[in-house]
Amino acid sequence: MRQLCKGNVAVVKGAILAGCQAYYGYPITPASEIAESAALYMPQVGATFLQAESEVASINMVYGAAAAGLRVMTASSGPGVSLMQEGISYLAGAELPCVIVDVVRGGPGLGNIAPEQSDYFAMVKGGGHGNYHNIVLAPASVQEMADFTGLAFELADRYRNPVVVLTDGFVGQMMEPVDLEFREATVPDKPWAVRGTSETRPNLLTSIYLEPDELEMRERKLEEKYRLVREREPRHELYQTEDAEILLVGFGIVSRLLRSAVETARRDGLKLGLFRPVTLWPFPSEALKQAASRVDRVLVVELSNGQMVEDVRLALDGDVPVEFYGRVGGNVPSVEEVLEHVVGGLTPKETA
């Protein structure tokens, strides 16, 4: 049944449909409705909900539940996610699957609670210590908040890795119809888990390897896993790219603005196309390269001072000029503003 639902609430509904068994978290605007809905729904389906004393504790509760083989999640926003970074590194190091939702807010420090996409580096490039990657999904609608949370659990279990759903205050706070369908979730076997049984007694979950050779082997093994993920899991969405002369690139809520910009521009005869990375790690570099192969230039728009643009430039490697337009502080550019920037960037010949 289609229902009108808030993005943050959809996260929890998607999680429960994916068989999430435990939620540990701490409130923070603009992510609090995730904890609130988890508190309301999880116990009613026999799952655990606990409000922890801090994000530091939440992520370590997640670590414990994941070690015991549960499908488990937490959610927060920038400042809280900063506190979780140590735990995320441990989860990656011990190869424990879990889902972390980051409803990004504005600024460094306390900033504000308005939307930004400025946690891109923190979640996509690391944030915690050491050689590791999170798998990062970027929903752009309320439906995707539910669907990607479910997908996140699958990917987490498939690769024994933390998966981040990176979204922002707008997608978290907005309401849209979602179509949710119940089917019995299949949680895969986890023979590596520690469950206090004779079969799992020999199991050890740890991230400490004192011997350099041993740790190097361990990190090589992780890298091999990441290579597989890079090969298999990049996801993206194209809109009107076939004959595009200018390619707009944006993720999450920005991809929605850019979609409108493409529509508006095409009504005026300006051939814009949209490339939307759906996975931020692995970054869909190959697909982007292809989509950008026939365009004159690329404009990356972000609610940051320019983070994903680095991955776009790496992917395109100088083949096409890449420009950047960003707004921060919770300001979100209007369609008109983006188009002004597009036209402003055109040479007289191109506008003629």
Binding site: V45, S58, G64, I113, T206, L258
Partner: protein, 492 residues
């Protein structure tokens, strides 16, 4: 006494001459070398504590059911030795991780093994809150008043005057504060069932420690609640003492500072608990019910309608937007509702953006609304200039402000708050405006509005008032509301 099993290494590489519990591995294969012995220094208390725990697990037949959580500190490698399920965790976070494990496996035995830096410094919040929640696991807290693994820095339990590498002049309370007494702290909480401090100063005290560990595990096995055993323990290497002197130092210095005692040995009194009901998933997630889709007789007259609603907090701005979005959804449209949120809302003004469209919605953010519903003057002044020239402004008043420069849009003044007051509640002003909007634009059916409202408002008299508000708004806008000069080409 537990039955001790003599273990002889199968490989015959090493000859083991001591007896040890079967809860220890025969050979410590997880170690890089010297697999027949532990990494602990001679005279270290960890060996004794390990042995007491292993023997308790063995005697209580818990080996297959135990999960040991190793901390950061000298005992980071406890999993080298204990042949049970093992999870190693971040510094200080063992009580949080153990919470996640125990709640996942409530009928298993979970032991959080922690040192003083781990538990009483970096992990203070985690241990206090785990204890306060009455988590049903056991914490073994080894207190040797120093950081061992990192080589002798000050611990939260370092004694006043005690020299360490980071308190080279002796611990000075004016600078570093006093030693933390964890048992005393935790026993101020209501939830813990068992909190006791013991010591490894001599054999008699070791036997008391043995009993305390068994009691803690027994409490956990019975599901009674949180159990905590602090063990004052020698660290001869870092203290710079012979093992025998180190034991004596425990007796002469540590015990006077940290008195041995059962601080708590009682079940907490819990109020009666009503757990939430367990219901089928589709019901809980509200995905089971009848479809609310409304079949429309004729197609919508618009491809897309962008509505901005603004006013004071408490005027039902956000709710009005939600009702419009819900109506659009039920009439088969794509919809989005985007609120202002947070401090802005709390400081007294609120607005939201509602998009209704026949197609997939791009930006949910509206820069040029087709319709502005301004519930107060601030909103009118702020947002009216952005309204599409062919758009509509509904203003909550019977007249425009005298100095207001009207933009080239249609403007209807509807004194919704006054009408709502007359109907009996200021709260239905938003419904007056909804009625006016539906009448002025014909965008969606008033019947759909009534159904949506009926689903949200359960009290009959309130429902009637809401419906009356809808109707009055519609009548008013039909007859009286239009500001004078209206542009041509009204699209709806």
């Amino acid at each position: 006494m537990p039955e001790e099993i003599s273990v002889t290494a199968q490989t015959s590489e090493f000859e083991l001459t001591h007896a040890k519990s079967a809860v220890f591995y025969g050979l410590y294969e997880r170690k890089a070398d010297l697999k027949h012995r532990t990494h602990y220094c001679p005279g270290c208390g960890h060996g004794v504590v390990h042995k007491l725990i292993a023997e308790a697990i063995e005697d209580m037949k818990l080996q297959d059911n135990t999960i040991l959580v190793s901390p950061v500190g000298c005992s980071v490698f406890a999993y080298y030795y204990f042949d049970v399920g093992n999870v190693q965790v971040a510094h200080g976070r063992a009580p949080a991780a153990a919470t996640g494990i125990k709640r996942a496996c409530p009928d298993k035995i979970v032991i959080s093994y922690q040192g003083d830096g781990d538990l009483a410094a970096i992990g203070t919040a985690e241990i206090i809150h785990a204890a306060n929640r009455g988590e049903k696991f056991t914490v073994i807290f080894v207190n040797n008043a120093i950081y061992g693994m990192t080589g002798g820095q000050m611990a939260p339990t370092t004694l006043v005057g005690q020299k360490t590498t980071t308190s080279p002049w002796g611990r000075r309370p004016v600078n570093e504060g006093f030693p933390l007494h964890m048992c005393e702290l935790l026993s101020t909480l209501e939830a813990p069932v068992y909190v006791e401090r013991v010591a490894l100063s001599d054999n008699k005290n070791i036997m008391k420690a043995r009993r305390a560990i068994r009691k803690a595990l027994e409490i956990q096995r019975s599901g009674l609640g949180f159990s905590f055993v602090e063990i004052l323990s020698p660290c001869p290497t870092i203290w710079g003492m012979e093992p025998v002197d180190a034991r004596r130092w425990v007796a002469e210095k540590l015990i006077p500072a940290f008195p041995l005692k059962a601080f708590r040995d009682a079940k907490p009194v819990l109020p009666p608990d009503t757990p939430p009901p367990i219901r089928p998933v589709p019901e809980v997630l509200e995905i089971a019910g009848e479809s609310t889709h409304v079949a429309r007789k004729s197609a919508h007259q618009f491809q897309e309608m962008k509505i901005k609603i603004a006013g004071f907090g408490g005027q039902g701005v956000l709710l009005l937007g939600q009702i419009l979005a819900e109506m659009g959804m039920r009439e088969g449209l794509e919809v989005s509702w985007l609120p202002s949120y947070g401090p802005e809302m709390r400081s007294g003004s609120a607005h939201c953006h509602v998009c209704l469209s026949e197609q997939r919605i791009g930006s949910p953010l509206i820069s040029q609304p087709d319709v502005l519903i301004a519930m107060n003057e601030i909103s009118l002044r702020k947002f009216a200039p952005s309204v599409s020239p062919s758009g509509l402004i509904l203003y909550n008043s019977n007249t425009l402000p005298a100095d207001f420069e009207a933009p080239p849009a249609h403007i209807a003044c509807v004194p919704a708050s006054q009408i709502a007051d007359m109907l009996g509640s200021a709260k239905v002003a938003n419904m007056v405006l909804l009625g006016a909007l539906l009448e002025a634009t014909g965008s969606m059916s008033p019947e759909t509005a009534k159904r949506v409202i009926a689903d949200k408002v359960k009290r009959v008299e309130l429902l009637e008032m809401n419906e009356k508000a809808l109707e009055t708004g519609a009548q008013y806008v039909d007859k009286e509301a239009w500001a004078e000069a209206q542009p041509d080409g009204f699209p709806y």
